[in-house]
Symmetry: D3
Subunit: 239 residues, 6 copies
């Protein structure tokens, strides 16, 4: 099976995904029906049963969207996720080049053992702490790292700030993404489901960002349940 996200971003289009934190196949199927391109699971923070995660992954494969995961930087975990059918990764808090190399090695080992092609898999590293900030150029210089991401709140914490709108934080954020784009890596962005945040995301897309994930599906649902009368249909980016 081809990796839908890779196909889109390598042809210059944008791939949009949803988080699926509710432990059920519903969000996966809804995301596919909504026209999205990938769905991200988070066993790093969330108590999915193994069989539930397997069922959610199978649902994504069945619908032709890319199953994505945030998981620990651990060779056994990476192998198990790939065996399950996961084809996109965001590794949290990647701190050193050596760590990134261990990730790439684990993926390569699966590729040689399974016969799955390497290009069916996307490897993303998230820069979220001080050590990562110092090493990110070495990390993105590594072949086998396909995607880079970061987040203002984590950067603020790493820089000893509490306000993520401070220039020092915003500059670090922009520098990571711009450096990655300049180095021909893909860039992965989060956005809230709101007109304002979407505007910011569009600016990054204009600069070359190609992977976009909407905030957690349970927050999306809660926002609309809190104010269901605000919803207004309009022409979508996703169609």
């Amino acid at each position: 099976m081809a990796n839908r996200v890779r196909e889109l971003i390598e042809s210059g289009r944008v791939a949009i995904g949803a988080h699926a934190k509710v432990p059920a196949t519903a969000t996966v199927e809804i995301a596919a029906a909504a026209g999205l391109d990938f769905v991200r699971f988070d066993p790093y923070h969330w108590p999915y049963d193994h069989e539930t995660l397997a069922a959610m992954t199978r649902a994504a494969v069945a619908k032709g969207i890319t199953p994505w995961v945030r998981c620990s930087v651990d060779a056994d975990t990476i192998r198990q996720m790939l065996e399950l059918g996961i084809r996109g990764f965001t590794f949290p808090c990647v701190s050193t080049r050596a760590q990134a190399e261990s990730i790439v090695a684990a993926v390569d080992q699966f590729v040689s053992a399974s016969g799955v092609e390497r290009r069916e898999i996307l490897v993303g590293c998230a820069i979220e702490n001080k050590s990562g900030l110092e090493s990110f150029e070495a990390i993105l210089g590594l072949d086998g790292v396909d995607i880079m991401s970061t987040g203002p709140s984590d950067l603020a914490f790493a820089l000893g700030e509490t306000d993520n709108t401070k220039p020092i934080v915003q500059e670090a954020y922009a520098r990571i993404l711009e450096t990655a784009i300049a180095a021909n890596k893909h860039v992965y962005l989060s956005t809230r489901a709101s007109r304002n945040e979407w505007g910011k995301a569009r600016q990054w897309i204009a600069k070359g960002a190609r992977v976009l994930i909407i905030e957690e599906e349970y927050r999306v649902l809660m926002k609309t349940l809190t104010n269901p009368h605000t919803w207004t249909p309009c022409e979508g980016i996703t169609q």
Copy 2:
């Protein structure tokens, strides 16, 4: 435990609820966090496991919102739902006064066996077919029926129409709700999560409707995932 919906509507306020069709406690907890007042399960149409439905009901009780159900008009089913902790009912396609009486009898039997007070339970009858249209005055005349509801699409089908905006359908719809309000029964309405539909619901609230349910949670989620950039926060009815 008191019935939050009854407390609200008997003091003249509006109770707002959500559908919970995804078989997981997530929607129940999201609905409670969003400030809603009840959550409706649909074992009549949806394949919940018994233990899942029990867990969802317990989650609603734990959060202080009323667990509601659409279920068959069947004495055994009604008893089991009440034993589970369900405290609000919508019975589909109620067709005759005799059927409504059998519902009320099943609820009363549970009340006398369990010690739960009758006023903790809300019984709603949905008028959805031709026979129901003919019998609805007899049905709403029955003590023990607390709530009436109906729907334009079902009425259109019952009246042999395919377009539910036709005057004959709209008049039947309005007549049922108005007759129920005039007879001091509560009225239960569905609304889509959109500014326009919400306006229509407000008109019925102005006329005395007191129970409002937002469209299925998976549709809510899909709409926003399809067009996440349209979401605009504004001042809510629910707060």
Copy 3:
């Protein structure tokens, strides 16, 4: 597989069982480890998943104790319980001889279709309402009804009393059990886990009762968790 309860009671010994209402195999395994002879499931009132009930039944079979059930008087339900491996039944609120005949017919149909011997199955009828009180002699006269039971609270309700210690209730209770014993039917009794109630049960055992069930396992657990310091080991009936 032989029916352990039948083997015990036909050789004049007493069979003791536990309720298993928690939807897990734990109570079944605990009951077997405690030396009990059967375990009773209650899908009539309790929301077990089908697969959970199947697993609990298999656990009982694996441990050599008789899986018992309270279920509706319904031919399809009876067939499914027998197919699952259930070998003891308590049918609630049996009201007429015709109802008892329909139970026996459903069991016989399974026997002829499956090759399981009829004596591996035990059929119990509970007399719990007014109509049952009037028909119980006809019911216990039926070949194929192996066991009779009743309960003071249900009898009180059936007789229009609220106090189940009243002579009229106690007499009805005793009459049903004594008539059944005189007619060579087995008698099934419930007892609370307490020294006092156990004394009453012993009196009925002296008169010929042979099947004894301890109150619900979750009540047993709650009582001891409430007062764990009261528990005193002593020589058991069960050993």
Copy 4:
């Protein structure tokens, strides 16, 4: 949410808890109904599904009792347990001051990332092996360790004894608890559900112990199912 156990023990009262090893929410709900203050899960030794443990934790939170866990000394596991809602910990076989420091650091990291207050969490270290016996004073000297515990059987094994009633074992046991109390740490004790064991626990409570856990719930159930006729109600400590 406040931590009920901390509130009780900081105001000089005793907190009593139950083990919940059966993978279902039943024991949690029974423990709450029995008036207990916390419930302890044991994923260190017991095969709970992740979603089951999440559901049991939510049930404890819903009932206002503190969800407690025995889990590995591992930063990822500690973070996941805290994210799940766990608020009390017993770490097995803590052997060195460095290990205790890593526990405290993992908890502090969650506190700073989540906004949960540190005092909502209770950290307990169990001294169970030889190295722990040598290091326990250094461990209990660490700020951030709230509770100490130990057990005679583990101490016997650590000391090369097979009989845990030997003076050398009993003295080590008493020394750990007394040193902890003298250092203003809380002390956590296990007790069997029996009059005799309860008497021993009361002596420690008189000396300052404040957290008491009743033996495994499945043992409690098995003991009473084995001898249901021994149960005698009396005035409880728990009420």
Copy 5:
């Protein structure tokens, strides 16, 4: 979605299916990988959880094979199966024309309510008892009944025989199938996984039978596990 079985049989080819009694999606996926055309679930006899059956149905849809079911002749059950996504039916023990009419009516009601086309659904009636034997011509004369089936063992029982190889049984069997084929109904056959039985099935296929189901998957597995060294690959019918 088109119905793969109907497409095959209406173009004169044979559709082959497997039973899926193990409550897991594995058999469904294996059957699809083996090149089969449909998979049959049996909630009539087997304790699937509702959510398991939903997952198995989704798995069949995802793989493009037709999800089939044996279920009770009951309008609510038929509606729920269709809502789940089931598109093929075998109704057991159809006894009268009136019963067959009620089946067809329930299917038609779903068709008009859902917008699913009638030809996406296949309705099969099994002749298995005496009354069915008398009524089968009236049943197969009904528009809306697509498929007929029967079985020698059930016929033997219906005819008061214990040996299903007796001419009277074999003749009845042949007469039902031949009459159905002559009336342009499709015929559904079971076969054991063995060279000999397969030969008999081929004879019926030569006469016009078009739907073939292999014996239960757990029997298939058990046979090969019992004698794994007997398995010999050869050219298949299914490829």
Copy 6:
């Protein structure tokens, strides 16, 4: 409980087992009904829920066959598997004598803590990589390692070959097994369910191999579903 595999192989007979990868108790029960001696689970590669694996293990114990596992070389995992009831192990990619010693130490620690006898447990080491090839004599020299296994494909990869029929691979394979047999270790072999492969397995049995596992149960099922007409009963090894 005795270990059925050890009993068989120590008395010179052959123990035959099945893989159980489908996450359900069905395969376990089928393997027992087919007369097999053990069943192997693979949490190393397969996403079983913890409770599912517990249920599958209990099912094996209930049927008297040995529950076997392939799991990581990790002390916590080994302890948890033993606590679950697992009594046979295949450790993948054992590379050094030190690793084998850590396995044996973890098993011994469980034995001393639990009272289970050491001979109820079987420890198998798989030689699958280059380092293992170099160390296998040191590994099989270790008391506490009961069984050795290897596989041609893994050996080929370790030796830098792609064709596992090459003499260098076949010789390495034979050398490991023969050395183990000569050193009085047991040898564990995989075989496909086919007449030809079975013949090869028989040759190794003639040389002293005593543990034989049939290929994955889902492959067995798929092969027969693909070609159900090929199955031919014959006299089995297993009976």
